[in-house]
Each structure stands twice: as structure tokens, then as C-alpha cells.
């Protein structure tokens, strides 16, 4: 893929196979000998961590599906049977449930790393878009998986999210209703909905695995980005993937597993919601419907806008922006290590997204900063919905104003000549005079 293959078949069987299906050659070139920049930091380990997350979810999920019953009358109790009577069923279910959270935690770090170091820029736009597709598929899979235990939060989560599509009645009358009826397989969230969600929840992870294959393929054509954002120049800049990055990723995966295991074994319900241990009841709406934590920022954007259609569009738009990010950022410099102004805007962007997540978990009318009291004695003042609005505006502005304009005007720091030079000088700023690379000449 990147340069000529260095694989040499050693045994007779390998030579025989290599002329028929060069699969060992492919594995050798992509996973063992692949030249990888030698300056990748720990933020780069999350790709490997995510691969492990996907495998863990698929294996635990396939086992759960052996015991789970996708039927509105039986689903809740079948999950309890897994917890109580299936050998190590509690462990498999807690791994799967917390595994979803771990998967999203890792993917958010992975996306943030790509945004900070400019990994979406040429020649890696397709790699980035494939990553966005994986993220969208993950969201659909995570949402449908949360519906399957058929508790109160499952049921009402499904009701709220599927009802979002009814907003399209505002574009063409009847369109939204037709979409929701089609999604539900009826006129309400019911057994047919649960059945199709189960079917799709089983299907989508394999589609994710397929797109992950494309994602890795698209990674191996240009090769890894790196913390300097300066492309690899020579063999001196790289080390073979194995053993250098297998061991570094391996260590990071081990550390991540410790966190994962802490949740599974000591706080398995910390990220869940008590209401989901109440069986789904279409006649009793819970007081406070909240999605899982990993959807909260988008939920806050949805609720920030009083008009339903605009809210739905703003929510989908906030994810859609990621797809066009490579063309929104006008800076030729990839890594924000050399973009001191952009770095601040990025950190505020992260804070705004976390703030939106906090807002998504609160009631819209909860008061953030109390100013006075109304006649019932309740505090009044600056509410969550207004905070969400401010943060949502920043979220959008970061993509649509900051990145397009900043790239044209900002003053960047001099780029190192190559990966090896800042490595040797242990810094990055110390570059021999006259060697300052002109960013516009770089891919």
C-alpha cells in the first residue's frame, strides 16, 4: 500500500499461497512492517483501543443474543434471566452495556485528536469521512441497543428519538408521520419496533466492521498523520508498526481495560439510569427522559431551539458539519501545535461540547445562575436552555466562522523541517534558521 511490499514468503506453503491469495503479504504489510511515524503520542493509541472495543462489543453482543428474547412481553425478563441464571451472564451484559460507553468515550477522544492535529486535511479527507460514517453507525447502533432491554428509559428513548422524524411534517405535510409509522412498523413504538431494532442492532456492527476496514485502508494509503502535522519525509522518520506500535498500543489498551473493568465490576450502573429497571409501560411516562451520556450534547442542541423542525435540523447539522470539516478549515498548517490562536478556539470548543453535554442532562428550565425568586420561591435567572443556546452557537461558529476565517488570517508558528528534527531537539520551536518550512508547499 505505502511503498513496495517487503514480504518474503519463507515456506513452500507461503509461496504457494502468495501466488494465489496474497493474504499473508497483506497482513505483513499492513500490520507488521507498515512504516509509522515515530513521534506518535498516546492520543494516537485510541484507534487500536477502538478496534478492541468493536471486537468486545461484537463478541459480547453475539453471546447476549443467544439468550435475549426480542419480544415486547418477554424482553425485560429475558435480560433479567441473563443477569441471574446465565453463567457469567451478568458479566457479559455489564461488559456490553458499559462497553458501549467505553466505545463512545474512546471515539470522542479519537475524533478530538483528529481535530486538534488536523488529521482530516489533505490527503486524508476520505479517511476522515469514513470515520464520520463509523461514528454515525455507532450512534444508530448504540441507540437501538439501549432500546432492547425494554425498560422505561428504553421505551421512552425510542419514542422521543423516532418522533424526531415527525418534524418533517413541517416540510411536506404527512412526510414525517409516514416516516415514523414506517420506522415503528405500526402506529406506536411496540413489538414490531423492538423486533426491527434488534435485527438492525445485530446488523449494524458488521457494517461498522466493514467501514473500519475501509478506514484502515484509507489510513494506509497516505499513512498516519503525526503530532507535528508534517508529512513523513524519509525512512528515518518512521518505525515499523510491529513491534513499536503493537507494544505501545498494547500498553494503552491495557490501561484502558483497567478503566473499563472498573466500571464493569465496581460501578456497572454508574452510567445507567434507574428507570430502565422498570419494565416499559406505554401508559406511564417517566418524569425526566434523558438519553445515554454520549448523546447528551446533541440532545441539548435539539432542545435549545423552540421550533421542532429547526431543532432536529440543528441536531443533525451538528454531526453533518463533521463530514465537511476538511473543507471548512482553510489553514494549511495541520497541527494546532503550530496554531496558537486556533488552539484556544479548539479548547473552548471542547469545553462548549462538554457544557452542552451537561445541559443535556439537566431540565431546560433548571437555573444555572440564580438571579431572583418567583412567587413559589423557586429560583429564577439564567436557565439551562439559554446556556445551551450560547454553547450551541459557539459549536456552530467554531465550524462555520472560526475555522474558515482563522486559517486565512492567523499567524502560525514555524513548522519543523521534518518529523525527526523536533524529535532530536526535544521541542519543536528550535528549528535551524532558514529551514522554516513553507506550509503551503505541504500536502
Amino acid at each position: 500500500m505505502s511503498g513496495p511490499s517487503t514480504y518474503e514468503p519463507k515456506t513452500g506453503f507461503e509461496r504457494w499461497l502468495d501466488t494465489r491469495l496474497p493474504i499473508i503479504r497483506m497482513a505483513h504489510d499492513t500490520a507488521l512492517d507498515f512504516p509509522t511515524p515515530k513521534n506518535l503520542n498516546y492520543w494516537w493509541t485510541f484507534g487500536g483501543i477502538l478496534a478492541v472495543c468493536l471486537v468486545v462489543q461484537i463478541i459480547s453482543g453475539v453471546i447476549l443474543a443467544m439468550h435475549y428474547v426480542p419480544n415486547a412481553d418477554l424482553a425485560f425478563n429475558s435480560v433479567q434471566r441473563i443477569m441471574r441464571d446465565v453463567n457469567y451472564g451478568w458479566m457479559i451484559r455489564y461488559i456490553h452495556a458499559n462497553g458501549a460507553s467505553m466505545f463512545f468515550l474512546a471515539v470522542y477522544i479519537h475524533i478530538a485528536r483528529g481535530m486538534y492535529y488536523g488529521s482530516y486535511k489533505a490527503p486524508r479527507e476520505v479517511l476522515w469521512i469514513l470515520g464520520c460514517v463509523i461514528y454515525l453507525l455507532m450512534m444508530a447502533t448504540g441507540f437501538m441497543g439501549y432500546v432492547l432491554p425494554w425498560g422505561q428509559m428504553s421505551f421512552y428513548g425510542a419514542v422521543v428519538i423516532t418522533n424526531l422524524f415527525s418534524a418533517f411534517d413541517g416540510i411536506i405535510p404527512g412526510l414525517g408521520t409516514a416516516i415514523t409509522t414506517w420506522l415503528w412498523g405500526g402506529f406506536a413504538v411496540d413489538n414490531a419496533t423492538l423486533n426491527r431494532f434488534f435485527s438492525l442492532h445485530y446488523l449494524l456492527p458488521f457494517m461498522i466492521a466493514g467501514v473500519v476496514g475501509l478506514h484502515i485502508w484509507a489510513l494506509h494509503v497516505p499513512g498516519n498523520n503525526n503530532p507535528t502535522g508534517v508529512e513523513v519525509r524519509s525512512k528515518e522518520d518512521t518505525v515499523p508498526f510491529h513491534p513499536y506500535y503493537t507494544v505501545k498500543d498494547g500498553f494503552a489498551i491495557g490501561a484502558f481495560m483497567i478503566l473499563f473493568a472498573w466500571f464493569v465490576f465496581f460501578a456497572p450502573e454508574a452510567l445507567g439510569h434507574a428507570d430502565n429497571y422498570v419494565p416499559a409501560n406505554p401508559l406511564a411516562t417517566p418524569a425526566h427522559i434523558v438519553p445515554e451520556w454520549y448523546f447528551l450534547p446533541f440532545y441539548a442542541i435539539l432542545r435549545a431551539i423552540p421550533d421542532k423542525l429547526l431543532g432536529v435540523l440543528a441536531m443533525f447539522g451538528s454531526i453533518g458539519l463533521l463530514f465537511v470539516l476538511p473543507w471548512l478549515d482553510t489553514s494549511k498548517v495541520k497541527s494546532m501545535r503550530y496554531r496558537p490562536t486556533a488552539r484556544w478556539f479548539f479548547l473552548i470548543f471542547i469545553a462548549a461540547t462538554l457544557g452542552l453535554g451537561w445541559c443535556g442532562g439537566k431540565l431546560p428550565d433548571d437555573v444555572v445562575i440564580a438571579v431572583g425568586r418567583d412567587e413559589t420561591g423557586a429560583a429564577t435567572g439564567f436557565t439551562v436552555v439559554w446556556l445551551s443556546r450560547i454553547l450551541a452557537v459557539y459549536y456552530y461558529a467554531y465550524f462555520l466562522l472560526v475555522l474558515p476565517l482563522l486559517g486565512l488570517t492567523e499567524k502560525t508558528l514555524p513548522l519543523p523541517d521534518g518529523i525527526s528534527s523536533p524529535v532530536l531537539s526535544k521541542g519543536g520551536a528550535a528549528v535551524p534558521a532558514g529551514a522554516t518550512a513553507s506550509p503551503e508547499k505541504k500536502g
Binding site: K248, G250, A261, F265, G377
Partner: protein
Amino acid sequence: MLTLRKAFAGFAAGLTVMTAGAALAATHGEHMRETKFSFEGPLGKFDRGALQRGYKVYAEVCSSCHSMNLVYFRNLAQKGGPFYDEKHPNPNNSPYAKALAAGVMVPDIDQETGDPITRAGTPADHFKAPFPNEAAARASNGGALPPDLSVIAMAREGGAHYIYSLLTGYHEPPKGLRVPTGQHYNPYMAGDLASYWDGPKDKVPAGGLIAMPPQLTPDRVTFDDGVKATPDQMAHDVATFLAWAAEPKAEERKQTGLAVMIYLIIFTGLLYASYRRIWKNVAH
């Protein structure tokens, strides 16, 4: 960019706050009553005596209105259960499970005639539901449905603390609160009392209305181990029992977790050592 080490430190701090927050998340009502349970914390275990006493409270008090359809008599004698005995590793053969089940007449179908009958329970039967269906349960309880208690400790914020607080939290309604007939005021019940409140609007009492009258009067049950059956004691024991019933494998989970953690920490340490060794001669 901030180093990953700092990020992890921040994350760990956040985790601590979050865990503490989850422990304090005492719903909208009053703060939970102060109490401690043996099974809390990463290595906490159920107090076997409390589980047995709690089962007695359930069997003699709660079970007259509340079902526990997901809990079977065999569960009582399984590893970690209230009546586990090493001499009877198979809970279905446990004399305790057999005796406790046999004391309950459960509904069945006569295999010869097809007629509905009742027979003595076996360890394979789940706890007997007090009412044949939801309508019957509501009819006998003034329209309210006593919830199934199988997973109640996981289905309420605060878990065992909530159950303990609710059961012992009944007191006279504050002046100005209109409590409808058949309802009772409880400061730990979820709800909104504004529409029943005649007092000043900024002083709406916390809590809600509950159809269940206070149950745990002194000496309502007689404990076999001689522990005095005060309302506090009974509430604490039954909360322990319900916490066990909601997650009977919780003890096994924590014990497995300890081994997993030790393994992972050693394994990750070895990986780190390998990483340092392999990268020793690479400037990066």
C-alpha cells in the same frame, strides 16, 4: 495539547466526583436517611444474618401485596444467597430452599384433568404472587398497583437507601397538606405535592403521596436470631434483602473484579516495561 497524563488525572478526578455524585443523588425528595450497608463499596459483602431476617420481613409483611416474580426459592440457597450452605452446592437440593418453598401453596394445573389447583412449592418455583393479575392487585389496593419488588433496589435512585428511608420515613403530614383518603404522606416518595398544598407557595413539602400505609410497626415479625424487630432494624434488613434480590450476583461480581483488576494491572505493567525496552533506542 495537554498531556495524556494530565488528562487522565482530570478524568480520575471527574470519576471520583461522578461516583460521589451518584451516591448522593437522592432524588427530588428529602435527603436519604443516614445509614450504612455492609454491601456498599467495591469489596462490600451482604450480611448473611440481615439477608435471612430481610427475607422473613418480605415473606411475612411485604409479600401480602408485593410480588417478586423474578426470584425463585432456589435463589435463596444459591451461592451468595441468604440460606446458602456449602454442604448443598446445588440450591435445588438444599433442604432450606425445599422447606421454605414447601411452606407456600403455589398455583398449578392438574396434569390429569387440566383443572387449576394449588400445590406445595418447590425450589424451582418463583415467589408466589399475592394477586393473580394487575386488575386484582389494583382492586385490592384502592386502585394502586404494588410494584413487583424483584429489581426494586435497582429501579429506584438511591437503591437500598431509598427503600430504608421510605419504609421508616412516614410521619404526620405537615399542616396545610391535604392527604386524600387511602393515601399517605411520605417525604421520600417521588411526587409533586403542590396541588395538595394550602400553605405558602414557597414551602411546598418535599416528597409525595403513597398508597401503602406504614407497615413496619415494632415487633411486626419475630426474628429467629433474637434480634429485636424495631422498625429501623426491619427496614434495614429488608432493604438488604431487596438489594441482594435485585442483583444476586453482586458479590460474585466484586470478587471477580478484584482478580481481574490485579491481573490487568500486572499485565499492563509488563506491557509498559516492554514498551520502554523496545523504544529504548528510538529518539521520539
